[in-house]
Amino acid sequence: MNVPVNSFDAVSVAVLPPVARFNLRIAPADLVVATKAFGLKLPGKIGEGVQKGDRAAYCIGPDEWLLHATEADQNAIAAQFDTARAKTPHSLTVISDREVMIGITGPAAIEMLSVACPLDLSRMAVGSAKRTVFDYAQVVLIRDGDDAFRLEVWRSFFPHVSGLLEIAVKELTVGL
């Protein structure tokens, strides 16, 4: 994916390297099984995120989690859940290629995102994740720090989103 990295002092936008990515659907009552299979305690509340090393889990729906891990672990993780499926019904779908991830960092990160995201991002807790919209695209937004966000968007919506971010960087540069 060839996208110019846009940055200047106030904000930096970059496409992040691919990860192993899963969409997990499981009854909240069975969450402990998923925790065991994934090796990380899955958060119980919608919007909460947990991160440890190169693994992360975000609760983005009543029975839905977004899981990240390093690419090399993809098959092993799928196998773990495969085994668990015998006793505990769930759905683990690989979506590593469905999404592209963009990192937006810097003091103007929230201002940048406010170009097309209608949420009050100042109230988004660090470490949390939200499924929301960015103009026409449905995205998942993850807040990694006061000034650090990641945005996940479907592959074919990526050009639209990155185009808007590029425009926003230009606006911030001009100062108008």
Binding site: R25, T93, R98, V115, I167
Partner: protein
């Protein structure tokens, strides 16, 4: 120095002279001037010609409600804007402006013939005039009227400007930065709330800018203002925005605001947006938008030089410009007396103050006498003199309702104040109720529907002291509503300008009302007699009066005309004003550019164009594209010199002869996973799924509750509890939503989950007798020989080293495979297959060929051969229904009387008698082309192509009772008005037995 500029008055920067042009003439002004103030400083009042009658018009206000001084501005190439208000456009060096609606010139306009013929143009004239002869309407009258209509010239060049857009959240949004708004901002800001304060003007201050003599806390108004702004700017929790208009108040405290960023700049930074649309979600909103001065309605009240008294005061105090050297003041409110005093003190010779009230505060009369200004209380105005500029005002005394002898006062300006109307546009957007104040004869804000506070003149209060107090109160209430603590503030105000007044309908006159050109709506040229005529002609509701006369329908949305129109209509109807009521205010508050609404949604960003991972290859290899839903798909791949017909013929032939390659990545894919997956599939789709083995796939049919076909696609069983469902390209989101809807609301007990995987996989289809030969060497981990992998089977393996879900399916009738690989490998796989395919003369084909090949086999395309009214039986695919299934979505509807009735439209084939004729898709079908019109249409053509394979045209159609019409001849119109005959056949045109699939 301009002739009408007053030294040491105003806030324009006299150190920075600016030259601009108006109608080609160069004028001098200063930085900080608007076009209106600069023209007035040069003694120019005539700025436009009115809409209908082409009457000479001058500027009447000093702000955004201006109805007359509408000009065209040119900022650069492609940057022409019509109908710009001269009172808003700031001047800068080199700005070019022009007046509108005149020819050949503003001073001599031929269009003024309309004014002479005004009898022909009264309200609703197009229902009563220009009716004979009838034929003249289409050829003469309408074209002429259309040409003459309109004010500004529409731009003809593409707008090169960028328009930005942003969301904003705050605790308190304050709209209007006059004394009320600023007081509210200080209160809320000091309390630590996140405050946004906006004003449509270049600088904040509102009335304070026009009342410099008022003292606040022992400082002049301007000094106090400067300190207040500095204090606000020092608060990190406060954001101040000027040149920002709140254009609409939407649900749940969402306010739309348009910020003008560069229209005032001579050097615009490269890449700077021209305007920004802000979408603000505020916890609390304070509306401090003030009040709008009301004109008076009397004969000739639209003459250039007749303007609002408050505007004259603003032009003097804010811009240092005298609008006339000998003004006359005509008023029914105390405020205009103060305007008169300001002008007199600045050197104007105020000829007289005419007040329609029988009595006026003695102190005001005294102040007038001190300045040598004649006062005529209890008088009326009955006409103006002058055409391109007012020269005199005709006034009469009024005693006991009788209008006395007239007297003409010479003057060069008439400053009018018919009272003040609280500005309630934004409040009205919320559908808050408006309460009629009988004393003020004005509407005031009533019941609220949003978290909003209204302060100051916007709710009928008057004077700086009460504005500051009320703004503080609103600020406190807003902060308290947030659950925060807030302090109090008191302001000591001296030399305040308080006062009261009355409002009225038309001014009484000794002359015939039928002949008076007494304007109510300046912009739409609506007179008082138009409104009375409307009532006489039976318009009883204010909604009808408005639309019949167009009063209040111009771009100023009745800011100067609604109330006067209401008073006159109420009088004509013999009712009280609140019984007649107001019409609806709608956003935007003031004219807003299309660009601001469009924001980034233009060019590349107008809509999302979704592209597959293989799209780049198609583009590089000359594909033509077509839109399918939000995707762009390769339509055909023309080689040198080929048109679409030739390219598609070649692609079809090559695919059936050897092997063709097609990008099928856009088709929807849904992972249906869980122990209840098969139960869910049985309920959703018509087909039986229980016995579909793992490693097999089946064509699935999806109906709506109404029994009509909604979508279809091949569905593979990956595991007992896992289905790989495909949908049409355009149906992907819709099908997933429908599935989730049923799952969440009807069958929440089912343990099954749905995940979209459309973009997880890139999909390449290989079709043709050599498909397996090409593919086999790339496959590892599976045996895809004819015996091991029958038609409609699937397997997980690797293809070209990439993990894959491999399906043996065919939408062409030839041996076919669909290879799914993770999206990032899509293009690499495509290139590998393409290279290896050279030995088989592999042909890449697009959606057009795909359409033709499937049609040759009679396969339907949902949305092409179906239109939401076609059942499985209608389409001849009743075999897809699982007969033994107890239930599935749409099953019960298939028994409805109209669904089982005979004569339904059924899908058949059509073969034209002349094989070279290709029917037009959508053409209606008749049994007898000689029948009388209107003919009985019995169906239409759904798909129609040239078939290279068969060497003739083929078509599919839905025809009433089609299955019983086999071999009948039907008739179809052609594009040039002729008729073509065709025979009804089945839809399996090519290889009906399916032998082409049995390739080793």
């Amino acid at each position: 120095m301009n002739e009408f500029r007053v030294k040491d008055r105003g806030r324009v920067n006299t150190d920075k002279p600016v030259k601009f042009t108006f109608d080609g003439e160069v004028f001098k002004g200063f930085e900080g001037d608007t076009v209106a103030s600069a023209l007035l400083a040069n003694g120019v009042h005539l700025m436009g010609r009115s809409f209908k009658y082409h009457r000479p018009r001058g500027v009447v206000t000093a702000s955004s409600e201006e109805p007359n001084a509408l000009i065209g501005t040119t900022r650069g190439k492609g940057q022409f804007e019509p109908n710009t208000r001269a009172t808003i456009q700031e001047i800068y060096e080199g700005l070019a402006t022009e007046s509108q609606n005149k020819w050949p010139s503003l001073q001599f306009d031929l269009g003024a013939i309309n004014d002479r013929l005004y009898m022909l143009f009264s309200a609703g004239f197009y229902y009563k005039t220009f009716m004979w002869p009838r034929s003249f309407w289409d050829s003469v009258y309408e074209p002429l009227i259309r040409k003459a209509a309109g004010l500004g010239k529409a731009p003809t060049e593409v707008d090169p400007d960028h328009y930005a857009s942003r969301y904003l959240h705050c605790d308190v949004l304050i709209v209007g930065a006059g004394p009320s708004g600023i007081a509210a901002a200080l209160t809320a800001g000091r309390a630590g709330s996140k405050v946004v304060l906006v004003d449509e003007n270049t600088e904040m201050g509102g009335t304070l800018l026009s009342e410099p003599s008022v003292l606040i806390d022992d400082q002049t108004a301007w000094d106090w203002l400067a300190k207040a702004k500095a204090e606000l700017d020092n608060m990190p929790n406060v954001r101040r925005m000027t040149r920002t208009t709140a254009i609409g108040y939407y649900h749940q405290n969402m306010i739309g605001m348009v910020q003008k960023l560069t229209d005032h700049m001579v050097d615009v930074p490269t890449g700077a947006p021209r305007e920004r649309m802000w979408r603000v979600r505020a916890h609390e909103v304070v509306l401090a938008q003030g009040a709008i001065e009301r004109p008076m309605v009397f004969d000739g009240n639209d003459c250039p030089g007749v303007m609002m008294a408050g505007a004259a005061q603003t032009f003097l105090n804010r811009f240092g410009v005298l609008v006339g050297k000998q003004p006359v003041v005509l008023t029914s409110h105390d405020s205009a007396w103060h305007s008169a005093f300001d002008l007199a003190d600045a050197g104007a010779k105020v000829v007289a103050i005419i007040d329609t009230r029988p009595e006026v505060d003695a102190a005001l009369v005294h102040q007038a006498m001190k300045r040598g200004i004649e006062t005529l209380v209890g008088h009326t105005a009955t006409a103006t003199k002058g055409r391109l500029r007012v020269k005199g005002l005709r006034v009469n005394p009024v005693k006991h309702g009788r209008v006395g002898t007239a007297r003409v006062l010479s003057c060069d300006a008439v400053l009018v104040c018919g009272g003040w109307t609280p500005s309630l546009h934004l409040f009205s957007h919320t559908k808050g109720s408006l309460d009629w104040d009988a004393e003020a004869k004005a509407y005031l804000p009533g019941k609220k529907t949003e978290d909003v506070h209204i302060a100051g003149a916007g709710r009928g209060l008057w004077g700086i002291a009460s504005a500051l107090e009320d703004g503080t109160k609103a600020g406190r209430e807003a902060v308290q509503a947030l659950g925060q603590t807030v302090g109090a503030a008191n302001y000591k105000v001296a030399d305040d300008r308080v006062g009261t007044g009355i409002t009225q309908k038309e001014l009484p006159s000794d002359r015939s009302a039928g002949k008076a050109k007494a304007f109510v709506d300046f912009q739409n040229d609506v007179t008082a007699k138009d409104i009375r005529l409307a009532v006489r002609e039976g318009m009883k509701s204010i909604e009808h009066v408005k639309r019949y006369t167009t009063n209040g329908m111009a771009t100023d949305q009745g800011k100067l005309s609604n109330m006067n129109g209401l008073m006159i209509a109420a009088d004509a109807l013999g009712k009280e004003a609140p019984q007649v009521g107001l019409t609806t205010f709608r956003p935007p508050y003031t004219p807003t550019t299309f660009g601001a609404f469009a924001g980034y949604h233009k060019g590349q960003h107008f809509e999302v164009t979704r592209k597959t991972p293989i799209d780049g290859w198609a583009e590089e290899n000359g594909a033509e594209f077509e839109p399918v839903a939000l995707w762009r798909r390769a339509w055909y791949f023309p080689q040198a010199g080929e048109d679409m017909h030739k390219a598609v013929a070649r692609e079809c032939k090559a695919t059936r002869q050897s092997v063709g390659m097609f990008d099928a990545s856009t088709l929807g894919k849904i992972e249906v996973s869980g122990p209840d997956a098969v139960e869910f599939m049985n309920r959703m789709y018509t087909n039986p799924w229980t016995k579909l083995g793992v490693g097999r796939c089946r064509y699935g049919l999806l109906l709506g509750e109404d029994g009509f076909i909604r979508d279809d696609g091949v569905i593979g069983r990956m595991r007992d509890d896992l289905f790989h469902v495909t949908t049409t390209t355009g149906g992907a989101a819709r099908v997933l939503n429908m599935m989730e809807d049923y799952l969440q609301t009807e069958w929440p007990e089912l343990k099954v989950w749905l995940t979209s995987t459309t973009e997880e996989w890139a999909t390449i289809a290989l079709n043709g007798p050599n498909a397996r030969k090409l593919l086999q060497p790339f496959v590892e981990g599976a045996d895809i020989s004819a015996d091991a992998m029958p038609h409609m089977a699937l397997v997980e393996c690797t293809v070209a080293g990439f993990p894959s879900r491999l399906f043996r399916v065919s939408f062409t009738g030839e041996l076919g495979f669909e290879i799914n690989v993770p999206a990032r490998h899509g293009r690499a796989l495509w290139e590998k297959l393409h290279e290896a395919g050279q030995q088989y003369d592999i042909c890449t084909y697009g959606t057009e060929t795909m359409h033709v090949l499937r049609a040759e086999k009679g396969f339907i395309i949902v949305g092409q051969d179906t239109d939401g009214t076609v059942t499985p039986q209608d389409a001849g695919i009743g075999w897809a229904i699982g007969k033994m299934k107890p239930d599935f979505v749409g099953k019960r509807s298939l028994d409805r009387p109209d669904i089982v009735a005979p004569g339904r439209k059924q899908l058949v084939g059509l073969l034209t008698d002349d094989p070279k004729t290709v029917l037009v898709e959508g053409a209606q079908i008749v049994a007898d082309p000689k029948q009388a019109k209107p003919m009985k249409m019995i169906g239409h053509v759904t798909s129609s192509y040239w078939s290279e394979t068969l060497g003739r045209s083929i078509a599919m159609a839905v025809v009433e009772g089609g299955f019983d019409r086999m071999d009948d001849t039907l008739h179809i119109p052609t594009e040039d008005g002729g008729t073509v005959s065709a025979k009804v056949t089945g839809t399996g045109f090519y290889d009906p037995a399916g032998d082409r699939l049995k390739v080793e």
